[in-house]
């Protein structure tokens, strides 16, 4: 039962196996298959007993373990004096061992990344300054590729979410309620119509509430899709400008 609390703690069957290997101080190069299979099956049973959803990958691994175990029981290792042949003999554990070792490398690499992440989380920057130099039609070249504009969009959104943290919470928080996206869409259209020009993407986010930001972002995407609005990048810094798409709009 002690595993019951750890169900979510494993990333998958390989992670679980590595845990068992550590816990029982098993040599990864010489895994006692019978023992580890027993422990593994116990874990699966516990999950079942607790009526937890056992991901199919765990069951596939259970089958693999049982298969290896049965292969190990077969008397393939003759007491032969010719050791050279014995070396060539395929160890049924070989493939699993390789996978475990490979996975462990990346698991360790992930730990290193986490350290870097932690380290870097104490470093702060500022967004590019909003430099206004008669911002009229100044079409800026982009990087190659159609998908670039999407990543620019996502990137801008990420930066916005980060920037959001830099603001003091609004004195009057909007009530935590679901903001219907089409309501927000018409709000944006009206706002842009009234503004008659290009508005900074970030100005569309008056409330620093996460929910509101997300709904606004969805509304902007939906309006883009419906060609109600135009989103463009004015310069190579990160500002995106949004305007209402009018027919025969002046260049």
């Amino acid at each position: 039962m002690e595993y019951s609390v750890k169900v979510d703690a494993f990333e998958g069957p390989l992670d679980l196996l590595l845990h068992l290997i550590n816990r029982f101080e098993i040599d990864i190069y010489d895994i006692p298959v019978a023992k580890i299979t027993e422990q593994y099956m116990m874990f699966i049973h516990t999950m079942n007993e607790l009526q937890l959803d056992v991901a199919s990958e765990y069951l596939v691994m259970a089958a693999t373990l049982l298969q290896i175990k049965s292969k190990m029981l077969l008397p393939t290792y003759e007491e032969d004096m010719d050791e050279i042949e014995m070396v060539d003999e395929e160890d049924p554990r070989e493939e699993l061992m390789q996978r475990l070792i490979e996975y462990r490398r990346f698991k360790e690499a992930a730990v290193e990344l986490q350290k870097l992440e932690e380290d870097q989380s104490h470093v702060y920057t500022k967004p590019p300054s909003n430099v206004q130099i008669n911002a009229e039609e100044r079409t800026q070249p982009q990087d190659e590729g159609l998908d670039i504009s999407l990543y620019d969009m996502l990137s801008a959104f990420q930066k916005l979410m980060k920037r959001k943290q830099n603001k003091k919470p609004m004195q009057t928080k909007i009530a935590r309620q679901d903001i219907p996206i089409d309501k927000r869409m018409s709000e944006i259209v009206n706002e842009l119509k009234a503004f008659k020009g290009k508005k900074s993407f970030y100005q569309l986010f008056p409330y620093q509430e996460r929910d509101h930001i997300v709904v606004t972002f969805l509304a902007v995407l939906e309006l883009m899709k419906e060609n109600e609005i135009v989103v463009e990048q004015q310069h190579n810094l990160d500002e995106l400008y949004v305007s209402y798409r009018e027919r025969n709009e002046e260049v």
């Binding site: 702060y124 079409t139 070249p141 159609l146 999407l150």
Partner: protein
């Protein structure tokens, strides 16, 4: 905390605040130092800015770091000069519209973009990303545009069907927390 240190703390806070700036009382509150100390550190920070690219200004009670006026020409160059030569925003837009809506006439593209599109269209034809693919039916028999083989090559596509889905489909949850909200919003959109 030395004076020097206090000054550095203030600088880091002002740096992060950017265009927002910070008032003396807000700084005092964060650093937990009396107003006079903050005031003093701000003054010496300002003095120290003499040889720097940025300086300290007070706007409506909020202190902020700004670039010096004398360097404005460089900043303008930074903002104006494109970082790399590629397609303009207008050309990319036009390209996207044609790619997803081909065959399409110029009038239809302009309808979608809301602006004249002659030049980007010429640029794209010049770069062999677009070409004439026929004539529309009806009075004007307007030229229809479509993408070229070179277009597919440029974006590494086998066929036009391989184009990535339009943005709304590509929207991904930023974090797991958001997932519910996104799902909910999408439900509402339907």
């Amino acid at each position: 905390m030395t004076t020097n240190n206090l000054q550095a703390i203030i600088e880091s806070l002002l740096f992060v605040s950017g265009d927002e700036g910070l008032s003396i009382s807000r700084l005092a509150e964060i650093i937990e130092k009396p107003h006079e100390d903050i005031q003093g550190a701000l003054e010496s920070l300002e003095q120290e800015c003499e040889f720097r690219g940025v300086t300290l200004v007070e706007i409506g009670g909020a202190y902020q770091l700004v670039t010096k006026k004398e360097y404005a020409p460089y900043i303008e160059k930074l903002v104006e000069a494109p970082a790399n030569q590629s397609l303009s925003q207008a050309a990319l837009e036009t390209l996207a519209i044609v790619a997803y809506k081909q065959p399409i006439t110029r009038a239809e593209i302009e309808e979608i973009r809301g602006v004249k599109t002659e030049r980007p269209l010429q640029t794209l034809i010049g770069k062999v990303l677009l070409k004439e693919v026929g004539r529309a039916e009806g009075a004007g028999r307007a030229i229809l545009y479509g993408t070229t083989k070179e277009f597919l090559g440029y974006f590494g596509l086998k066929s036009i069907e391989e184009l990535p889905p339009l943005p709304e489909d590509l929207l991904q949850e930023g974090t797991d927390q958001e997932a519910d909200l996104f799902f909910q919003s999408f439900q509402e959109m339907k």
